[in-house]
């Protein structure tokens, strides 16, 4: 088994229910992002660029796409002889077996994996943020301060602080209190869900936490408060770069748009900190004589014969003649037929938008697919593998889901297919 001073564990097992139909078939970290990437490319690439060579990927919810995507880790140089990417699903044990109950329990269940690696430090990461971060700098600060645990924090605007897990610190950034979504925050340092632990300390805490039947087995809610109560040395590590949570439809959409509006913020062209991904095997993009593409991000295999304005297109998207795509996020293989007009739409894998379909916030009113719980800001989300009827009119804040029962006249779905 591989040995390393530092091992990273990516918590990639969550469903990401707030992404609605986008995570019906795949786990959130496997959701495509930013034209060329999947969300998990960011933590994986950060690990490799930080010099971390053993990365455990804890998968549980709909793991097929994620497991295939990560595969042997080759695209991230994580196919090493004695290191690399390890997919860690929950497994049956001779005694009591269980699904991953919480973030801390997921690590607890992989205690043997970590013991075999025998690291001094463990970096815990989540698979739902878009950011570039040098974990080795954080680790250095952890070691220099003699910390037992270091939590990466991000200064959020005060008014947004009640949405986050907030860390209250002292002058030297030592953590004195953790508050989950405080109504009256005492600090604006939000936990990024990026932790460095000294493995011995974490190991002990995980065992103790597991014995507590009332625990949620969660890092933020249980492990951090427990370590604080035990008088351990916890420090906040301030991170000032670009960092976005993509846990909701609106934040996923906004973060995609950031690539267009503030390309220098995430700076994907920075060759010193490349974001690696499993590349599709497709030819270069093609823009036809009647196509027009402005303020947009495109990648291999796209074929554009219509208007693409301020949109992010993944590989192999086709926009036919006379179609208009504005402020949209189109995932791999989506086809927008002639004359369709999409605005603020997120369209999942392979879905075919029929001729002259009109969708987006400019269509007012509500329809059978209106879903204010998942959708906001007029965004329309389409499930993967749908054929949308020609001439359909879909108002903003709709989620086109094949599982919703709708009468034939009202349904916008002509058929579904497997992608």
């Amino acid at each position: 088994m591989a040995k390393a001073e530092v091992v990273a564990m990516i918590l990639a097992g969550g469903q990401g229910a707030r992404l609605g139909v986008l995570t019906k078939k795949i786990a959130k970290p496997a959701v495509p992002f930013g034209s060329r990437y999947r969300i998990i490319d960011f933590p994986l690439s950060n690990c490799v660029n930080s010099g971390i060579e053993i990365v455990g990927v804890l998968s549980q919810y709909q793991p097929l796409a994620l497991n295939t995507y990560v595969g042997n880790g080759h695209p991230w140089d994580l196919d090493r002889q004695n290191a690399g990417a390890y997919i860690l699903p929950p497994f049956q044990k001779s005694g009591k077996s269980d699904w991953y109950k919480g973030t801390a329990n997921a690590i607890y269940q992989n205690k043997d994996f970590l013991d075999d690696c025998n690291p001094k430090y463990v970096v815990i990461l989540s698979g739902d943020h878009i950011y570039k971060m040098d974990y080795s700098a954080m680790l250095k600060s952890h070691i220099e301060r003699g910390a037992d645990a270091t939590v990466a924090v991000y200064e959020v605007p005060w008014e947004e602080a009640p949405r986050f897990g907030i860390l209250n610190t002292e002058g030297d950034d030592s953590i004195v209190e953790f508050e989950e979504k405080p109504a009256k925050p005492k600090s604006n340092l939000a936990s990024m869900g990026v932790y460095v632990f000294t493995w011995d300390v974490l190991r002990e805490a995980l065992i103790k936490d597991e014995a507590d039947e009332n625990s949620n087995n969660d890092f933020g809610k249980n492990i951090i408060p427990m370590l604080l109560a035990d008088g351990r040395k916890l420090f906040a590590y301030r991170f000032a770069g670009y960092w976005k949570d993509v846990g909701t439809i609106s934040s996923l959409w906004e973060t995609n748009m950031d690539i267009l509006d503030k390309p220098e913020d995430i700076n994907l062209v920075d060759r010193s900190w490349r974001i690696f991904s499993r590349n599709p095997v497709k030819p270069s993009q093609y823009i036809g004589s009647e196509g027009k593409v402005t303020n947009s991000a495109l990648t291999d295999g796209c074929r554009i014969y219509g208007d693409v304005i301020h949109s992010v297109l993944s590989n192999s998207v086709v926009v036919e003649k006379g179609a208009v795509v504005k402020d949209c996020v189109l995932l791999p293989g989506v086809v927008v037929k002639a004359g369709a007009h999409l605005e603020r739409c997120i369209v999942d894998f392979g879905t075919i938008i029929g001729e002259n379909v009109k969708a987006g916030p400019s269509v007012t009113g509500e329809g059978p697919y209106t879903n204010h719980k998942i959708c906001s800001e007029g965004i329309v989300v389409f499930e993967r593998g749908l054929r949308i009827k020609a001439d359909s009119v879909i108002p903003g804040n709709s989620m086109i889901d094949s599982d919703i029962e709708v009468s034939d006249e009202e349904s916008v779905i002509e058929s579904t297919f497997r992608v």
């Binding site: 060329r36 690539i259 030819p283 993009q285 004589s289 402005t294 303020n295 495109l298 291999d300």
Partner: protein, 371 residues
């Protein structure tokens, strides 16, 4: 998928020069089609035909080729058994790099051929771009009872020199082959792709060596039509030949034709290439792309028309490109106008430059040049 063949690609061709484009690299390593090198097509064709053992024969300037193909992983040719083998000349202590003789080259090929266990060998030239599998070709070869089969199409001499025009008899066997004929007897032009039994190829090479021949060429094998039965196999799909700068430019521009693009990229098996992990391409406010192939990692601020743009190219504001081939990492500054220009990798064009070539005679800007 046929499995009983190995592949041999002659990665360079002493008869073909693309001037500044082939100065720094072997012919098959010349970038083509936005994100590929010429060799990607033949390597992919072979792999897509189930071939798992491919030799790439080089004699010179193979650094760029080796950087590109690496371990062969991009083509799934990083295998324990077989896989990708680069066959540079065997240089012994007496031979200096400058006077490497062909027999060292041939010794390496013979060893490689002898180690394999397949029945057939597909041999291909460096200069051809097509997307096919060889199942039909091998089947036709077996049915014809020929010793050697050669693939051709009906392009005649349209791609310029070197063209090998075949004259076939009524049963499709080669009875004559003419090199750059002034008056072609037919429009059947060899694609430089052969299939023959491996043991026959070993025999042919060994005999050639014993006659003092030092060079191994595809058409020296076809030329044996007097003593061996050489059958022609017509290929009906799109095949582009890169014979000179002019045909390179024309072949590149032909990719803007939907039929050619579909035939090469969308109707058959995928064409694999080395992955680069570039960022997506960004088109900014005033970007205006018309009938263009654009690859990843580009930043388009200006106007591009009828052009093939490789990876990580910057086209700045108020700049217009028309009928250009722009290779990887080229930077074109503001207020430029380029027409019928081929820019090799890493070229840098300063603001306000105006360069206009002729479609039949494009301007070539060498690798890393500053204008």
């Amino acid at each position: 998928m046929f499995n009983n063949a190995m592949g041999l690609i002659l990665a360079d061709n002493k008869k073909i020069s693309l001037g500044e484009l082939s100065n720094p690299r072997a012919l098959s390593a010349v970038p083509f089609g936005g994100r590929y090198r010429i060799i990607d097509f033949m390597l992919s064709d072979m792999v897509n035909s189930g071939i798992k053992n491919v030799g790439v024969l080089t004699y010179n300037k193979y650094k760029s080729l080796m950087d590109h193909v690496g371990t062969g992983a991009a083509w799934s040719l990083d295998r324990k058994n077989d896989g990708l083998h680069i066959l540079p000349p065997y240089v012994n202590s007496e031979a200096t790099a400058a006077n490497v003789q062909g027999d060292e080259e041939l010794t390496g090929v013979l060893d490689f051929l002898r180690q394999s266990r397949t029945t057939y060998v597909i041999i291909s030239a460096a200069n051809v771009v097509l997307n096919t599998t060889f199942d039909e070709f091998i089947k036709s070869h077996e049915q014809s009872g020929a010793d050697i089969s050669v693939m051709y199409n009906r392009d005649g001499i349209k791609f310029g020199s070197p063209s090998y025009i075949l004259e076939l008899d009524d049963d499709g066997f080669v009875k004559d082959m003419l090199y750059n004929p002034p008056k072609p007897v037919s429009n059947k032009c060899s694609l430089g792709i052969l299939v023959l039994r491996r043991d026959l190829l070993i025999d042919i090479i060994a005999r050639q060596m014993s006659h003092g021949k030092t060079h191994f060429g595809i058409h020296s094998i076809v030329k044996m039509y007097d003593e061996l039965k050489v059958h022609g196999f017509e290929y009906g799909g799109t095949a582009l030949r890169i014979n000179n700068v002019h045909s390179y430019f024309r072949s590149s521009m032909s990719l803007l034709n939907e039929g050619v693009r579909n035939d090469l990229f969308w109707s058959g098996e995928p064409i694999y290439t080395k992955v680069k992990d570039e960022a997506p391409t960004l088109y900014f406010d005033n970007a205006d792309a018309k009938n263009c192939i654009v690859s990843d990692g580009c930043r388009i601020y200006g106007r591009i028309e009828e052009s093939v743009i490789f990876r990580s190219v910057t086209v700045s504001k108020n700049t217009t490109l028309k009928n250009c081939v722009v290779m990887q990492d080229v930077h074109i500054s503001e207020n430029c106008h380029l027409e019928n220009v081929i820019l090799d990798k890493n070229a840098f064009v300063r603001p306000g430059v105006r360069l206009v070539g002729h479609p039949d005679y494009p301007i070539v800007i060498g690798k890393g040049a500053g204008i």
